[in-house]
Symmetry: C2
Subunit: 645 residues, 2 copies
């Protein structure tokens, strides 16, 4: 593992606002993160000169006047072109050229305060970090001069000159290596240019030319954010120009037929090449179908979708790419790769245009993947000065605890109970799912969609069990009490719902006549045991991380509940069943699909993407398996807290 | 076109040797070019710290001692890690971090003078530039620690750490973008590592991991240099560890069946997609067969060939890649792309390992391609302080004239006469070809191989015509004289060789009984006309370049004759027929296949590759078509010079 984050302080003048950023960060990134309106059409290549700021202290240029003899000529390689000698003496710099090595004070000129750059704020924490809207995909409309005998530049070089002149590319002599152009683009280029009188739109992915389109198509630029869960997949089609989500779709991960949890899929995929290919191709086909649906809903041109950002846990990541998962399933649980990856869509057979890219957020460890990185990114945990806790509850529970100084992460196999699997009437949070339960005079349920209930979602299950605990229908060991044992004060309308089915008891949540399937919807003893295992694993994981950080629960200033199974988990219920430590209610927030939000942030902002890479490197992974303290905590946490005795 | 070369002076101390390099060049490159033994395992990423030099003047660090407050902290981002404060004050720098902006003096520590780095010297000019042997392909044997619970880095990150520790890669936090790994490599990685107990050889192409091999295979690293001429293709298999050529093969370009010259192929390829694909697939299949032959001859493992460098003229370049050649054939003759290109071998169906690369040298203009860049690179023309001329004679004649200050290039459609085509008994310089002709008492011919002659190569043709001119068998208009007109002093043994065939005369070079085909080998009137057209076009091109540079022929200090048709063109004969201006013989050198030598240099040295990119940008292309002065010069130059009257 690499060194922990070393943060330095940037003081913004004149208001003396302080921000903390990782050492080695570019000043421009730091300012963008702080919400300043730096225009950087050149994407930080030092070409456009638009990010001029005045720096005080060690990073300022020498004020002795002996700039040229002071020996830092090439320090300003890009900056010399954009700054006067006077400006250099006054400490002006191009923010995109300054690497922050120590604390620094920065004065930002008034224009940056006025032009408020569009930022994106996707998370529901309310205090998640805002990122500038600057996707890796950029579209530039060019009106190029036609070639003449005097100006006989090659077609690509003509495009490039246009892009350099507009500040979107560095000068060619600053790019010494062989250009990696998409072959398909070069093949179309001569015709597209001439048919359109040299008025075309260049599509850049980072600094790569991935498409040339007829006329001005800058308004149509789309991307896809894909959150591939072990059980549930969610995809959104995003307008890269506005950040708006135009369509959303979800479905069950088809790999479920090879095993409900990642362990069983890892073991299936380890059997051989054909098994691995089966797992991969099912998943990719489902992704293709989701893309088709998104295009159908949003009615956009498939050719204008340039990128899909994918998050998932490490096993899903490997299976998506067809990487051998064998060693994910054997101690010490080593992934094939953790770094962020770019893959051409065509390489995997994803039905986007050939030159489009897939971008996979980095993994942290064998059992903490890009989905956890997405949660950390969208909740802003890695920027917080206070200690916070995020719990992403899916088939696996990922737990992240800490602050900007140090973040710990672990994973527990919660099992698919929270996503409705292995629960008698469980289902994912789709139409007809009971997502909230309140038991007062009688049972009240909230159902997704204007339909009769047909099953129980994860949040509905948590609510129901919490209410049953509160009313004494189940005891702290999880046992459903017999009619004789039920509290005397329990109204008959509730009491009569506790029935015996075969040899075990169950609680009728919805009577047959109120159910969409005409059969009663119940919670039985086995369902409660599944939930106990699931929540016990997570609660024990939290305990171990607390121990590693040497903190008690009162030092946790905020708890984020995240999960693709629904944005409606009730914080009170979560505390009642002991999923999270009991604490003042205002500290607990449901943040919905935070992993997916992270994918959207990465899609919309190169700053977010860069942060994600840093997060993956710097978060410390804690392996729970084989730890006696985890085993002990797990056994204890399977019981429900004694809140109502 | 971009700005002309701006050269600056680097003075090497203590011997006060001066070298001239383009402004903006890295100091490390300049020193490598000068033949110094800089060890740079990190390939200039500032990671290994091995290229420490003492710099005097503006580029030296401040000697005031106030380094830290002088504001160039990040100037030394890499250098701080490798230099002490004292060294910085003494002006020490890492050569790979210093961009040369103005004249500078450099003191090189003794160890660099001792460890004589292996350089390659492929050219036959004798004064061509020497390049350090440092291929883009690097192999590194790694003995990695096995993963443990404490060290659970991902497989790729484990490789990467090993490479960073050995100084072959920059630190991962300095590589912010998504890593572009070859998918196939990632798929093999987990197994290869474990089967070989984490003892593997990493194959790097630039900074990309293109293969991981079992055990230590560093000794086996090969590349292919391919010179694809309009008529003749030559391929060499090169040992990247030693620079040695292990095998060579050549064949006729199969596109010839679609037209002898590039114009007819451009016009065929412009007819539609299927025609273009036909031209491309024939060529690629021939390349594949040549690769098979090279492997067969040299007996190396195909999987250990990691790169093929390709040179050819711009039309060949486009047809090789399947790029639309239409606009190469229409004024203003604009290529699709001129920049150097990297293409995966599998993208074109070239039978090398999937992750191997093809690298195409850059083009200068529509009719001056990577082959001319190869000639300039291998003859060192771009580094010369004196004016020199290079003429690459193939189906097209490329002419380059100038010095380091300014280089001009043009192309003339010489026609395939020099390569034996359209000549009655013409053939390429293969077994059985007459490659030299001397006429004294009788005709003496030198034949390639220990066989009877079967035809005449380009150099043989030039020799023969030169001798016929000298002896007065043809006059300066190119007409073969009648028996009556022949000089009286001509011996009968020669005289009887001038015969009439149909209505035109011909000269019998080899009698039927001395010929491998039992039929006489002759030069007829049409052959001489073809040669006149060919040599006239080249001579006229030289004239126009002279005029553009405003120089006369006496200012040309050296003439290089290059050409794939043979390394044996006789300089005297070339002057006699007027192919090149008459000048003292010691100024004229045959340099053989200089374009192919350029491909080899690029294969073996990343410095050479970088120079090639600069050459392509900076050489000024002169379009001859439509120039009245070229037309006039061409008409004059079709006659032979009156040297013998």
């Amino acid at each position: 593992m690499l060194a922990l984050m070393n943060k330095i302080k940037v003081t913004l003048l004149p208001e003396n606002r302080e921000i903390w950023v990782p050492q080695g960060e570019m000043l421009s990134e730091a300012l963008l993160m702080a919400g300043f309106a730096l225009e950087t059409p050149c994407a930080g290549h030092g070409v456009c000169g638009k990010c001029k700021v005045q720096v005080m202290g060690a990073l300022a240029a020498s004020t002795s006047g002996s700039v040229e003899s002071a020996g830092h000529l090439e320090l300003y390689a890009a900056e010399w072109q954009h700054l006067s000698l006077e400006e250099i003496q006054q400490g002006y710099r191009l923010a995109c050229q300054v690497v922050l090595q120590e604390d620094v004070q920065v004065k930002i000129s008034p224009e940056f305060r006025e032009v408020l750059r569009k930022t994106i704020d996707i998370t529901s924490t309310g205090n998640g970090s805002k990122f500038p809207l600057c996707p890796l995909v950029r579209k530039v409309f060019l009106v190029l001069p036609e070639p003449t005998l005097e100006d006989r530049l090659g077609d690509w070089e003509r495009m490039e000159r246009g892009l350099v002149e507009k500040g979107f590319l560095p000068r060619p002599d600053q790019m010494e290596r062989g250009l990696q152009l998409d072959g398909a683009v070069l093949q179309e280029l001569p015709r597209v240019l001439r048919v359109n009188n040299y008025q075309v739109t260049a599509v850049l992915y980072d600094s790569k030319l991935i498409a040339v389109e007829a006329g001005d198509t800058t308004a149509s630029s789309y991307g896809i954010a894909l959150d591939i869960g072990t059980t549930t997949m969610v995809g959104g089609l995003i307008d890269l120009a506005t950040g708006e989500q135009l369509a959303v779709t979800s479905r069950t991960n088809p790999q479920r037929s090879f095993g409900a949890d990642v362990i069983s899929r890892i073991s299936f995929g380890s059997q051989g090449k054909s098994q691995l290919e089966k797992l991969q191709s099912r998943l990719l086909e489902a992704v293709n179908q989701m893309i088709d649906e998104l295009i159908e809903i949003a009615q956009v041109d498939r050719n204008h979708i340039y990128e899909a950002v994918v998050v998932g846990n490490t096993a899903i990541h490997h299976l998506f790419l067809g990487l051998d998962p064998t060693y994910l399933g054997q101690g010490p649980y080593v992934p094939v790769v953790t770094r962020p990856l770019q893959v051409k869509a065509r390489q995997l057979g994803i039905r986007l245009r050939d030159s489009s890219y897939l971008y996979l957020l980095p993994n942290i460890a064998g059992f903490v993947g890009g989905d956890a990185v997405g949660v950390i990114l969208s909740t802003g945990l890695y920027q917080s000065s206070d200690i916070k806790l995020a719990v992403d509850i899916g088939t696996n529970g990922e737990i992240i605890l800490g602050s900007a100084q140090q973040l710990l992460a672990c994973s527990t196999a919660a099992g698919p109970a929270f996503e409705g699997a292995r629960i008698k009437h469980g289902m994912r949070a789709a139409e007809g799912a009971i997502e909230k339960v309140i038991i007062e005079e009688d049972v009240k349920v909230a159902v997704i969609g204007s339909v009769l209930p047909v099953g129980i979602s994860g949040s509905g299950l948590i609510d129901a069990v919490a209410e049953m605990l509160r009313l004494g229908i189940i005891d702290h060991t999880g046992r459903i009490l017999s009619q004789a044992e039920l509290p005397a004060e329990l109204p008959e309308s509730i009491r009569r719902r506790v029935v015996k089915d075969n040899n075990s008891r169950e609680f009728i949540l919805v009577w047959g006549e109120e159910s969409g399937s005409s059969r009663p919807i119940t919670i039985n003893q086995e369902d409660i045991r599944e939930l106990q295992l699931a929540k016990g694993a997570i609660a024990a994981g939290i305990k171990v991380l607390q121990k590693e950080l040497a903190i008690n629960k009162d030092q946790i200033t905020e708890v984020y509940l995240a999960g693709a199974f629904g944005s409606c988990i009730n914080p009170v219920s979560a505390m009642v069943i002991g999923l999270i430590p009991a604490m003042p209610l205002d500290r607990v927030k449901s943040v919905g699909n935070a992993a997916g939000a992270g994918a959207k942030l990465a899609l919309l902002s190169r700053s977010a993407r860069k942060q994600a890479a840093g997060i993956a490197r710097e978060v410390r992974y804690i392996e729970l398996s084989g730890r006696p303290d985890f085993q002990e905590a797990f056994l204890n946490a399977m019981y429900f807290p004694n809140l109502f005795r």
